[in-house]
Amino acid sequence: MPTVTRWYLKSSFLYLLAAVGVGVWLALRGLAPVPAFLAFVQPVYVHLFLVGWVTQLIFGVVYWLFPPPREGDRHDAVWWATFILLNIGLLLRVVAEPAATPRPGSVWGWLLVLSALLQWAAALGFAYTTWPRARRRGRYSHERRQQAEES
């Protein structure tokens, strides 16, 4: 499994653990004293699952599974940039959203704007690298497989 994929997959597993952990924490409301900001954590909980876990898992598997581009360059720099943008963006959201929701326009609010920009840029990076790889396997990959079998 390629290094890029391993980073995406292992990070996605950490988000899965974090999401389930936050779920437990949210369930404690009404049962035990919890911090007030927990009232604003529900969207973070959902996005830890859907962006951190599911979407990131898909990104990692796409890098691994999809046919390589015709020109042979997988654009690894863009995949790494996408990984960094997605994770910093999501972690920023985790920290800033519960703080910004009751105080829009504060420093936390601007961090939330930054988080939105970073995650959006990550989606652009994924689309840029994946679009040309959603294709039929061409002569390039066939020749490469033959070379691998012969060597």
Partner: protein
């Protein structure tokens, strides 16, 4: 990758970009309020990313990697998968429009019905392909 999977994954990627764009605008608006009406796009954001992106991408990859038969046609009758692609996207578009046009709740209902038919069509195609090595 078969042509139908290329369609599924590319259209799903378009939905991903659209859904992320709306989500980013909503999140930024939560941080620094500049357009309160953006919150009305929340159902569209959810529809595009859950059905348009996740479900559609999973269908496209499933069509590609689920076992093929030894004889031709290798993927069996693919009409169900083709119909599902059209119905799913028509459904997503109608549900999104229905969430934006408050006066026409029927749009959402028709969209959801098309999504149900898409799921039935896709399952009817993929069901016989979910087999072991012995076929």
């Amino acid at each position: 990758m078969p042509p139908l999977s290329i369609w599924y994954t590319r259209v799903a990627t378009v939905h991903l970009l659209t859904g992320f764009t709306i989500g980013a605008l909503m999140l930024a608006n939560k941080g620094v309020a500049f357009a309160p009406w953006l919150w009305r796009l929340r159902p569209a954001h959810m529809e595009l990313l859950l059905l348009g992106w996740l479900v559609q991408f999973a269908m496209g990859v499933a069509f590609w990697i689920v076992p093929r038969r030894w004889e031709q046609p290798r993927r069996g009758n693919v009409i169900g998968a083709r119909i599902a692609l059209v119905l799913l996207n028509a459904g997503v578009v109608l549900v999104v429009l229905g969430s934006l046009v408050q006066d026409l709740p029927a749009l959402t209902a028709v969209g959801r019905l098309l999504e149900l038919l898409a799921a039935l069509a896709f399952v009817s195609h993929i069901w016989p392909r979910v087999v072991g090595r012995e076929g």
